[in-house]
């Protein structure tokens, strides 16, 4: 067969392609916008070596040794004391809530035991649900040793300056003692999968009606916007629940992920999270002029959700501005909720503080979607 290539025909296709590209402003903007967003997120926001992690101190002993050690821990750069606690119950709660990553407990009579050479225990409890967020900090902790105390051990205590160390640093990885990454990833996957499918499916739902011309027929019928919205959303809520069930089952059977908390509570919060994603998807679908644009908007929402929510990279490793952005996203809060329920056994009280931001997001996105839905073709 003769090689048959007509540059003129190829040129015709090429110019047509450029004209179409220029017509679709949003696509054009995305082609420029997505690389910039990725550059900023990966370049500035993401940091897999989080420092200055919020730490609470439960000091039953306020001796000079204790203070020196806490200062040394802070000086490593990985810890930032943000709270003084007074009881173990408070410590448990702070870790469960996630308001601190570490709790340092200085036991009673720390100084006396130290001076007597009884090697008291300095307990550091870490919220290890995300092993990546704490591993470097814990490694740093173990290098803080004797040297830190030597300056305080003078005179008769000089003998304690030498081996073995005068105290024992004991690190307890709470919630995920073996540091199994899957324990953190698999529950988080519930949120990621839901975000992607829910936003994408609904964003296509209304756009498809416009693109195929069926909207004209639908609008000419007595059907109300709220009826269309509810009718389009409910099927995907069911799809969402099926997805969650599949992931939970796999989590249990394949990865033996612990499930300490109440699954009933989880499925209750799920409604809120799914609804929030559907609402944003629905908003996209009223903004997009084609299914292609709807897909792009979904991607534009999904990318920061993956990167800024704490799913792929530790949330506390990000700069403040990125954390604020992350706090807006429903996925950020849902990850905390699902990890809290499954790994920490959290209940209603701890869940609520992350549930209301999702609720607020739902309210705003839902209102936007309803006001954007046009009842005419104007």
């Amino acid at each position: 067969m003769r090689f048959n290539f007509s540059p003129a025909r190829c040129w015709a296709v090429l110019t047509k392609e450029f004209v179409q590209m220029r017509r679709d402003r949003l696509t054009f903007a995305m082609m420029v916008g997505v690389p910039i967003m990725q550059l900023i997120l990966f370049g500035f926001a993401i940091n897999s070596d989080p420092k200055a992690l919020p730490t609470a101190v439960l000091a039953a002993d306020n001796s000079i040794y204790a203070r020196t050690l806490v200062r040394a821990i802070e000086n490593s750069g990985y810890f930032r004391v943000v709270q003084e606690l007074t009881s173990e119950a408070e410590a448990d709660r702070a870790l469960a809530m996630g308001s601190v990553q570490f709790v340092i407990t200085i036991p009673e009579n720390f100084a006396r035991k130290l001076e007597r050479g009884e090697r008291p225990v300095l307990l550091v409890e870490a919220d290890a649900t995300d092993p990546a967020a704490t591993s470097n900090a814990i490694a740093a902790l173990l290098t803080i040793n004797q040297a830190a105390l030597n300056r305080d051990l003078q005179g008769v205590l000089q003998g304690l300056q030498y081996q073995p160390p005068a105290f024992e640093m004991r690190v307890q990885r709470r919630y995920n003692p073996e540091g199994i990454t899957q324990y953190n990833i698999v529950p988080g996957l519930i949120g990621v999968v839901l975000t992607m499918t829910m936003v994408m499916m609904t964003s296509l739902a209304v756009t498809r009606e416009y693109e195929r011309g069926t909207m004209e027929n639908l609008l000419a019928t007595p059907v109300r916007p709220i009826e269309v919205m509810a009718g389009k959303i409910v099927p995907y809520i069911i799809v969402g629940y099926i997805q969650v069930s599949v992931i939970l089952l796999a989590a249990k059977l394949l990865f033996a992920v612990p499930m300490l908390g109440s699954l009933a509570l989880l499925s209750f919060v799920l409604i809120l999270f799914i609804a929030a994603n559907l609402a944003i998807g629905y908003t996209f679908s009223t903004l997009a002029k084609s299914q292609m644009q709807a897909m792009q908007m979904t991607f534009f929402f999904f990318l920061p959700s993956m990167l800024l929510s704490g799913f792929m990279f530790p949330f506390r490793g990000m700069p403040q501005w990125a954390q604020w952005l992350g706090e807006i996203l429903p996925l950020t809060h849902f990850l905390r909720i699902v990890r809290g329920i499954l790994l920490k056994g959290n209940g209603m009280a701890e869940v609520f503080q992350n549930a209301w931001p999702i609720g607020l997001f739902l309210l705003i996105a839902g209102t936007l979607a309803l006001t954007r839905y046009r009842e005419t073709l104007d």
Binding site: T221, P222, D378
Partner: protein
């Protein structure tokens, strides 16, 4: 009851991107009438129909449809109107039955299964009811769409080129059906480009470049045009047509099968101008009734093109 206006609108105006697509439009359509809506492509027929059923909000103008205000009460109007869109707008990925079922549910048609079954029977599609609507041929899609918009027993039918691409047999059936419905008191507004269909309407409206040019019965429209038409046959009609077009008294020369229709608005002047053409050997001249087509082509030529102004 025939004095009840089902559609009564005036001053309807719609602008798209600075262009007046519909300009000061007003009609009255009485109950049980079949009202034909004609005009060249892009003249604003679809836009007008969309304003009547609340799909587009007019920039100005007012009126009622089935006694309800077209601007404030479009929700009430939608319930009693059957609108057939110009472009197929049922779901191609649903089967024929599923489409009808969906529409019947939306309108809360009583005794739904029966109604859908009957519609399928009437269409003759009962055996193919499980077929996807997207796999139907163009004409069948039209027929399905018509069946769908009749499901809820509407009082007013707005049909936007319902027979485009439909074969002659099915078109005749369709028009018989429309006349039956009209006899039962249903009002029909139908847009079309077919002259034979225009002649089957009780009344006509002709719109060009967004402006309503004339309304009336077919006979009234023809009479109003004051056209006098001659039909000519003979050798080299093509060459003859070119010659005739350069004569000032002749306003229009249109090929019509194996003849030419030669028209003018001033009968004596036309007669005089045709004098020496009549003497051509082989040509046969006969007086003809101007057709609706002649009239409409004439009106379109005359209408000021405000789109390009």
């Amino acid at each position: 009851m025939s004095d009840v206006a089902v559609i009564d609108v005036e001053g309807l105006t719609k602008t798209f991107g600075g262009r007046r697509v519909v300009d000061d439009f007003g009609i009255r359509v009485e109950r049980g009438q079949i009202f034909g809506f004609l005009g060249p492509n892009g003249s604003g027929k679809t836009t007008t129909i969309r304003m009547l059923c609340g799909l587009l909000t007019p920039d100005s103008g007012r009126g009622t449809c089935l006694g309800h205000d077209i601007i404030r009460e479009s929700a009430l109007i939608k319930r009693q109107v059957g609108y057939m869109t110009q472009r197929f707008s049922l779901y191609e990925d649903l089967s024929i039955r599923e489409n009808l079922d969906f529409i019947a549910r939306i309108y809360a048609v009583p005794n739904r299964e029966h109604a859908v079954g009957e519609a399928l029977d009437r269409l003759g599609l009962t055996k193919r009811s499980a077929q996807l609507a997207g796999h139907l041929s163009g004409g069948w899609k039209q027929r399905l769409a018509l069946a769908a918009c009749l499901l809820h027993d509407p009082k007013l039918l707005l049909l936007d080129e319902p027979t485009a691409g439909v074969d002659p047999n099915a078109r005749r059936e369709f028009w018989n059906h429309i006349h039956r419905l009209a006899a039962d008191g249903i009002t029909v507004l139908v847009s079309t480009h077919y002259m034979d269909e225009a002649e089957r309407c009780h009344r006509l409206a002709y719109i060009a470049y967004g402006k309503l040019l004339i309304t009336g019965t077919a006979a009234e429209v023809i009479a109003h045009s004051k056209l006098t038409t001659w039909s000519v046959s003979g050798p080299d009609l093509f060459g003859l047509a070119a010659e005739l077009r350069s004569v000032p008294a002749i306003t229009m020369v249109v090929p019509f099968g194996s003849t030419l229709h030669v028209s003018g608005t001033d009968a004596p002047a036309l007669d005089a101008a045709l004098g020496h053409f009549r003497a051509r050997p082989g040509t046969v001249w006969t007086p003809a009734e101007p057709s609706l087509e002649d009239v409409f082509i004439r009106m379109m030529d005359e209408a000021p093109d405000n789109f390009n102004a």
